[in-house]
């Protein structure tokens, strides 16, 4: 379980997160929606300790992410993350991209790591791309590669940070399909997205973030179909 209590975060004088409370249950899929600059991505970065925080607390399986005694490298092994920029390692083949972390972080043997990598790549539909370099693949393929790379660490949680925002429209579907598969398999997911359709169809709950606070949270049928706050109404009107 991920528990976020009163989370505050600033960049210089700018307070980006102003007291976020959120509890993510095992197997739950939560979509986080809201305008650009509302702090959604920062929230994800705080959860796996890529950003430090200035108030509140985040617990992942009862481990305080920002406590000085916490082994962040170990904690991150169970929190997979996929970014807006695909961030595939350009000097490695697809297979090597996925096998790297299992080998050097989890200490698997080379052959074990390659087995894991192959399985994950097949899983995301890249079974025919083992030896391709990222530069030889489309954005959608690279993003699926990034998902496979995160999954190869066998995480308990997956964080998705606007993973379709940089994609050409015709490539968005293949990435969303991969995420649907993952949600069907019971993965706990926190998804920052502008894909309202995906949020509506796949999430258990949707959180609408406005200026550093969760203004509204609940099942898609209420937050997306029937938003109460004025901000959420206005924001969602853009997607009709």
């Amino acid at each position: 379980m991920i528990e976020i209590k009163g989370l505050k975060k600033s960049f210089g004088d700018l307070q980006v997160l102003k007291g976020i409370d959120l509890r993510v249950q095992q197997g739950e899929v939560i979509s986080i929606i809201g305008a650009s600059g509302s702090g959604k991505s920062t929230l994800l970065y705080c959860i796996n300790g890529l950003e430090d925080i200035h108030g509140g607390q985040i617990l992942v399986d009862n481990v305080d992410v920002h406590a000085s005694a916490t082994d962040l490298n170990r904690l991150r092994q169970k929190i997979g993350m996929v970014f807006q920029q695909y961030n595939a390692f350009p000097h490695l083949t697809t297979l090597e991209n996925v096998a790297l972390a299992p080998r050097i972080v989890l200490g698997k043997s080379k052959s074990e790591a390659l087995e894991v990598a192959k399985a994950q790549l097949v899983h995301v539909g890249l079974g025919d791309k083992f030896d391709a370099y990222p530069s030889q693949m489309s954005g959608g393929q690279q993003q699926r590669l990034a998902i496979a790379r995160a999954l190869a660490m066998e995480p308990s949680y997956m964080l998705f940070d606007e993973v379709t925002s940089a994609l050409d429209p015709e490539l968005v579907g293949e990435v969303l399909d991969t995420m649907r598969l993952l949600s069907d398999a019971g993965m706990t997911m926190l998804v920052v997205t502008h894909e309202i359709g995906f949020a509506r169809d796949v999430s258990d709950r949707v959180a609408y973030v406005h200026e550093g606070l969760i203004e509204e949270i609940g099942p898609p049928s209420s937050v997306i179909a029937n938003p109460k706050s004025e901000h959420a109404k206005r924001f969602l009107a853009n997607f009709k």
Partner: protein, 225 residues
């Protein structure tokens, strides 16, 4: 008396085959001082470049200033200053040692900027992706930053290495008999500057060519786009 010495001394004698050996030996000295300077200077430069790229600008401003000085002062001035400074404080240096130290620091000051550029060529999101997989800082450096950065800066590093190889000729002012100094000696004796400088130029080319070729080949092998 008449048989003990020639009546006239020949000041100038023509270029002989044995002179080629003399030049070859000098080329080895050029190679030696260059290889030491480029290797140790590059290692130092990697350390300095990493510090410059990864640590707070204020913390590294002193290092940056020192490196800037070594980058900007002409090599020949650095050589003469260092070579003459150490005997003053009671530690006489051989031309070889003085030359090696100056060339090494000079190389390091150039490589540091190259390496800084290489580290900064790896985007922050890329590095966050590596860390999000649970990699430690040094795993990120070793498996992500180093290989990507190395590919990005290899051409620039090659330029530095070739430059230092040629600049090693300046150590001749200290009396170290490397290629240029050897050629001056031979020119004085033979009065045939054209042929000797042509040969010495050939030697420099033979020394430089492999560096250019090897890095060229590495670049092609590492190409991934």
């Amino acid at each position: 008396m008449e048989n003990s010495a020639p009546t006239s001394i020949a000041f100038f004698t023509g270029f002989k085959v044995s002179d080629l050996l003399f030049l070859g030996e000098a080329a080895l000295r050029t190679l030696l001082i260059s290889v030491i300077a480029i290797t140790s200077g590059s290692l130092l430069g990697i350390l300095f470049g990493w510090l410059l790229a990864e640590f707070n600008r204020y913390l590294t401003s002193g290092l940056n200033l020192v490196l800037d000085i070594f980058r900007s002062v002409p090599l020949i001035i650095q050589l003469i200053l260092l070579y003459n400074f150490f005997p003053i404080v009671g530690i006489p240096l051989s031309p070889f040692v003085a030359g090696t130290i100056v060339l090494t620091v000079y190389t390091a000051s150039l490589v540091a900027q190259v390496v800084r550029g290489g580290v900064e060529a790896v985007s922050l999101p890329m590095r966050r992706a590596a860390r999000s997989l649970g990699m430690t800082y040094f795993q990120d450096i070793r498996y992500v930053v180093f290989p990507i950065g190395l590919r990005a800066v290899l051409p620039a590093w090659t330029g530095v290495a070739l430059g230092v190889l040629k600049d090693s000729a300046l150590v001749s002012v200290l009396g170290y008999i490397e290629l240029l100094r050897a050629s001056q000696i031979l020119v004085t004796r033979t009065q045939e500057p054209f042929i000797i400088l042509a040969i010495v130029g050939g030697f420099y080319f033979i020394l430089s060519y492999p560096i250019a070729r090897i890095t060229d080949r590495l670049e092609k092998r590492w190409q991934y786009d």
